[in-house]
Subunit: 196 residues, 2 copies
């Protein structure tokens, strides 16, 4: 037997359920995402997921963990592809942020939903992927001199700006959906002074 298509025990059900969940999420949205539908799509009965996840909430957290993973990957990739000066690094990172939000609408809404956030502190996978995403943003903001007023640096402002823009763009399709350069950074980026 290869690793695929193990006959009865299915073998790797856990990741299959997560992937099926993501698929359904993007095709049918959050409303159409049911435990039973996920199970059926994978080819098992509706009670099978219970042996891998404590409940639907736990499966959603696992899906969100995977979501944060590709989220962070996309940010990192876009940042690394950008010119090496701090301004463009930050801009690239944020374009990755927006790209993920635009291409995975329901998943983006899920990973930042307050439903899963309470359970998220328990799940180790989730904490790790989420923290990686946040640290990525922190690190890129750390390329600039921090504000004298905020000890935390600029990450809250930048994060708010890009997150709000991504959310509103998803909510109100009127805002130009394609042009990542339309991001309202022209007042802020020039105010950030690179370190050293």
């Amino acid at each position: 037997m290869t690793s695929e298509n193990t006959p009865h025990h299915h073998g790797n059900l856990r990741p299959a359920l997560i992937q099926a969940g993501i698929d359904i999420l993007e095709t049918e949205g959050t409303k159409g995402l049911s435990l039973r539908k996920i199970a059926t799509r994978v080819g098992v009965t509706h009670a099978a997921p219970a042996h891998h996840f404590k409940g639907k909430a736990a499966l959603l957290v696992a899906i969100a963990a995977k979501g944060f993973q590709v989220f962070a990957d996309l940010m990192e990739k876009n940042r690394d592809a950008a010119p090496k000066d701090p301004q463009n690094q930050l801009l690239g990172l944020c374009q990755g942020y927006l790209q993920f939000a635009a291409e995975n609408e329901a998943l983006f809404e899920l990973i930042f939903s307050t439903d899963i956030k309470p359970h998220a502190n328990v799940d180790e996978d989730f904490r790790k992927s989420a923290n990686r995403a946040f640290r990525l943003l922190e690190d890129t903001c750390a390329l600039f001199e921090p504000s004298p007023k905020h000890s935390q640096g600029h990450e809250i402002m930048i994060w708010s700006l890009v997150h709000g823009y991504a959310s509103l763009r998803a909510y109100n399709k009127l805002i130009s959906p394609e042009d990542g350069a339309a991001m309202p950074f022209e007042l802020i980026l020039p105010q950030l002074t690179p370190k050293k």
Copy 2:
């Protein structure tokens, strides 16, 4: 008979359902909000709401419409209470924005949820209250000279910033929840030049 407690026909069921929905939303969250629970709380059977709303989605839209109403009220009130210079007017408006998001967490998430947004274009009440809220922000941003780059003025940037900050604060309780002045405006507000 007074207007209250009409015996069998209940009289004003429609607004009662909306209010009960808001109450449950704030006490039990989105997950605990069911049509049947709303109906029971108001004192009618579970099928009664069907005669006033086309379905659960329609009731949610009505709840969101009411939500946008108090949202706009709160922004307007805070803006009017602020000093009359443009900077403080905008700051006041945004503090109202944040106050609403902090005090009505689930409702805030609902009115900006992508679930109801498709149905929202149909509902006239919703369009009106939502547009009022948006226009309020537009008008206050119009106190400043627009950016030469964006014909739309600054409302997208300001809106993104305050909306992102509100969302992230709800998501991650780590961000100081009380101090409205901690809003990351110190880089942006000085860049805005009042008109005339």
